[in-house]
């Protein structure tokens, strides 16, 4: 085997690395191209539609605020899928964990409305994360201890969680019990502590949350004494503080970006993350080097569930401030495309969450201006992920083949390499 020059090795490293960004970008472009045909069939101009889509997402401070709002839950559910997947736990239950997390956050805010903000807000956030964790406990346990496929168990629990949220906002908060089969006496009155419907409203929705549970807006943070005493005199501060959209932008997207950095750190800079990734890549090899595989899978699943639960908490505390029926439909499922377009890397997930958030934020403007329905966005998303899956698979196969050739190893070993690095590698 010839020894390679240093330039060659660097070049190969560079192309491999940029390729992992090239695949999703090409996939997204191809998705826009194909969806353009569908828009033409609808009778609209695709270019006009896409221009209105992006001006609706980035065209004004208000549009950017909306994009940030849409992006935040996607970052958390995307991270949930990324961390789980890289650890060998494919969490399809982010939707359910998200709903349960949101319910928990609202429950805390409704039950303890008198708490001061410094106590109530963190309590709500923690409750949402904990509830997401609780909702993944059973699938995590079944996968770790009994080897039952997590895809099915997490998926089935989604439907249970969605029905629970439908029920919880339709029964008055702390009122009469539930009567069964025409009985006179209410039974299971304790259940009412878990209900959330606003008794003063005829519609199924939870009470509007108290101010103390709101995610502080960037405007209110910029107007605190500390910030004004530091920056109050600078001219750019005077300009920035005048932007009305600052009142809509909250701390939630900032926390989401912090979560991305934190998860990156855990995944790539800690022993926990190293163990988790080794189990995700090749459980047999991980076992061989002394990793407790069931325990690692269990812990990784809990981290994944917590992240998905936080997605729900961020949405109700930062954006909607109450739960209405289907208040955040599909944001949990959309964590999967976010993760895959993001090449299963936390920073990639951040980029693709921004992209998907922008699609959602701009789709309404697109519908208003060009009458192209919002659902087109979901087709763009689906096509992008299909192309990205294909591109990534082909890319990985090429890398494996190249490695096999350059190392001159025999076919049997090559097949083993291929098995260990099918997708996540």
């Amino acid at each position: 085997m010839k020894t390679e020059s240093k330039v060659n090795i660097l070049w190969r490293k560079y192309t491999e690395r940029s390729f992992s960004l090239l695949v999703p970008v090409l996939a997204i472009l191809a998705a826009f191209l194909v969806s353009g045909v569908l828009i033409l069939a609808w009778g609209a101009n695709p270019i006009e539609a896409y221009v209105s889509l992006f001006s609706g997402a980035f065209g004004s401070p208000n549009a950017i605020a909306t994009t940030l709002e849409r992006m935040t839950p996607l970052i958390f559910t995307g991270l949930a899928v990324i961390y789980g997947y890289r650890s060998g736990f494919f969490n399809i239950g982010a939707e359910g964990q998200l709903y349960m997390g949101a319910i928990a956050a609202v429950w805390v805010a409704v039950t303890f409305p008198g708490w001061p903000a410094w106590l109530l807000l963190p309590a709500c956030v923690i409750a949402s994360g904990l509830m997401g964790l609780v909702w993944i406990l059973l699938p995590a346990f079944l996968k770790a201890k009994r080897g039952i496929n997590e895809v099915l168990t997490t998926l089935l629990l989604n439907y249970v969680a969605i029905q629970y949220h439908e029920w919880v906002i339709r029964v008055d908060h702390i009122q009469e019990g539930i009567t069964l089969f025409g009985g006179e006496k209410p039974v299971w009155t304790w259940l009412n502590y878990f209900t959330l419907k606003d008794p003063t409203q005829p519609y199924p929705k939870s009470p509007f949350l108290v101010d103390a549970s709101f995610m502080p807006s960037l405007k209110s943070i910029l107007e605190t004494n500390l910030v004004t005493s530091l920056l109050g005199d600078t001219t750019w501060y005077q300009e920035v503080i005048k932007i009305p959209a600052l009142g809509r932008m909250t701390l939630a997207p900032v926390l989401a970006v912090l979560a991305v950095v934190l998860i990156y750190f855990v995944m790539f800079k800690t022993v926990t993350g190293y163990r988790a990734r080794s189990v995700g890549t090749n459980p047999e090899a991980a076992k061989f080097i002394g990793v407790n595989v069931p325990r690692t899978i269990f812990i990784s699943a809990l981290i994944s569930g917590t992240l998905a639960g936080l997605a729900g908490g961020m949405e109700v505390l930062g954006t909607q401030h109450r739960i209405i029926p289907s208040f955040l439909v599909n944001a949990g499922f959309d964590g999967i495309p976010v993760a895959l377009i993001g090449q299963l890397h936390p920073f990639g997930g951040l980029l693709s969450a921004i992209f998907f958030g922008a699609l959602r934020a701009g789709s309404n403007k697109m519908q208003v201006i060009t009458s192209v329905p919002v659902a087109v966005v979901y087709i763009i998303q689906a096509l992008a992920i299909m192309f990205a899956i294909a591109g990534t698979t082909v890319n990985i196969q090429a890398i494996i083949k190249k490695r096999r050739m350059s190392k001159g190893i025999n076919q049997k070993n090559a097949a083993k390499v291929a098995e260990g690095e099918t997708y996540a590698g």
Binding site: L38, A41, W42, F90, I92, L142, R146, G147, I148, N149, V151, L152, T153, L155, L156, L157, Y159, V160, Q163, Y164, E166, W167, R170, V171, I178, T179, L180, F181, G182, G183, N330, F333, D334, I336, P337, L340, Q367, P373, A375, V376, V377, Y378, I379, Q381, A382, L383, I385, M386, I389, A390, T393, V394, Q397, Q411, A414, A415, A418, E419, T422, Y423
Partner: protein
Amino acid sequence: MLDDLGQVFSNVEFYMAIVRMTAPLLIAAMGSLLAERAGVVTFSMESMMLVGTLGGIIGSGLTNNVWVGLLLAIIFGALIGLMYAVWAVTIGAHQIVTSTALNLGALGLTSILYALVFTRGAEVIENVITVPKLAAWKVPLLGDIPFIGQVFFNQLPLVYLGYLLIPLIWYILYRTTWGLKIRAVGEHPHAAETVGISVAKVRYLTIIFSGMMSGLAGAFLSIGLLGSFQENMTAGRGFIAYTAIVFGKWQPIGVALGTLLFGAADALQLRIQAIDPRIPYQALIAFPYIVTLIALMAVVGRASWPASSGTPYKREEV
């Protein structure tokens, strides 16, 4: 309460509902069993059923002929099957990941195509379009048997297809060379390839068959039961059918029993909803999913999957 339940159980309507709720699951699960035995994870059934519901509505709505609806449902399902096969077999992509992408995509695709064909406006939900739906067909002689005839042989024609699929799939799997090839591909693709079986061809054909049957199962929901379309109409029934395959340990009889269990749970929750509206109906809707979950925990062990399940097969280049 017990009286009410007794009334449910003594009513022939309840047993008819069980058969009605089981049939779409049965058709989809039986149709996908071949692909499963060939080593392909058919988690994409949900998307195939979903496009089937739409195919049925479009075909039946545009031509006023339910049979065209069924045909279109089969074609739609087969197209998604073909797409899935390209990704899962030719490209060799991760099958559950690809399935999840297809399931999400089908959701958007069906609602936009429905709007494109019928309403062209934003208020899809308000304008419910009703189209001609399948009529029940009583089987001669068998349909006259008291109770059993009423329950099993006075149903939609698609239900009978479901019955026929059980022995048919069993026969194909265990009594034909085709079945032998399918099982060989699922258990040991390399060995199958060395004796001249094309792994790709077997997997392509079985996946497309899975798409066709799942499409029909979807049409059962739209033009069989309702005669109209709703967004996300299958509501996870494709996943339940998939669970039935796992539950039945990839054996035709077991899979059929699995679909029956979930169909019965579905029928029961509908009846209980009708008894007393004050019972939280959401708990009842969640009931079949909980039953499925418990069934998974109770029955499924580790070692029942086809050996090559979910693993893309790549012919080794020398």
